[in-house]
Symmetry: C2
Subunit: 158 residues, 2 copies
DNA sequence: ATGCATTACTTGCAAATGTAAGTATTGTAA
DNA sequence: TTACAATACTTACATTTGCAAGTAATGCAT
């Protein structure tokens, strides 16, 4: 066992309170997810900070930076720098929006598309590993509940 | 409506994929929680980065930095600097551990305890506001499921 | 009791982040 | 048409972060 156990007197109550807090759990899981994602992405040489934008563009490119950021709830400055990094990595390119000289449309390069194509499997693997303890039904349930909390309609409109 | 809508062609599928991802939802909620907490804490003049440790100490002080960090899954350097900040704010004090000259025990000051006493209400308010769309049963469900994912036993052993 | 691993904590430094202020372009209203 | 607001994006600067390396004290095996 470990020395310091004598400090543990009367902790259970505090522990329960904290671990029963939605906020605490979400923060804990967010950090865990992030660490696992970082690991998984290392295998394909993609930085974790880039991956969300890259995935987004894989689903639809030719959008401007503002639109890209909005879909991920990222602030603009972040998207701006993120795209700098992706351009530098050779994953995307900025093209002038034919309708506005103040905005760019972002397009994946072939290299970027190739990298992005590897992302869905990684994302799924990480999500599955974090949710490994849950049954399929429970996974569906927790996602539905989180969507409700995040005020995201679940799309199933029938 | 807003210009740029012409860009939205064929987005629904991508949107659904992203919003159905556990990881995406957790990150989204984590940022939301953080922003709301920051707001709520502003009212009582407590920095968000400090609040978790302060809350922890309110539940039990007189523990060392390592133990404190472990309970929150925070890295040591973070706890170290966090305590610096709390000491500076006059919320806690470091006392030599009578059993070891290489560790400190952290105690709340009266001022710190007073601040900390205001935290539970704030935490509850933020959690409630994020989970406002859910019924009581759903709240309990989502917390239980997240605990299971985080491999935290829920304590109810019977 | 000596040497070496471990524990507890801190810190230097490079990189990442957030804020606020900047540029340039476009919309809009008198 | 001109002036003022709004949009799209960038960047300077101060702070925060994270890693790795540091200090100091302790445990532990020989």
């Amino acid at each position: 066992m470990f020395r310091g156990d004598y400090l543990m007197t009367q902790v259970p109550k505090a522990k329960a309170a904290r671990e029963g807090s939605f906020g605490f759990l979400v923060q804990l899981l967010a950090r865990d997810l992030d660490a696992r994602m970082k690991e998984a992405l290392k295998e394909i040489g993609v930085e974790v900070k880039i991956f969300a934008n890259l995935m987004m563009l894989y689903e639809e490119d030719g959008i401007n930076q503002r639109a890209l950021g909005e879909r991920l709830n990222f602030p603009e400055y972040f998207t701006s720098r993120n795209i700098d990094a992706m351009v530098e990595a050779g994953y995307v390119e900025r093209r002038q929006d034919p309708n506005s000289r103040r905005s760019y449309l972002i397009f994946l390069t072939d290299k970027g598309r190739e990298k992005a194509s590897q992302l869905p499997a990684k994302i799924k693997a990480v999500n599955d590993s974090v949710l490994a303890e849950l049954t399929e039904q429970e996974k569906a349930d927790v996602i539905k509940l989180l969507q409700k909390a995040a005020k995201i309609s679940d799309g199933t409109s029938s």
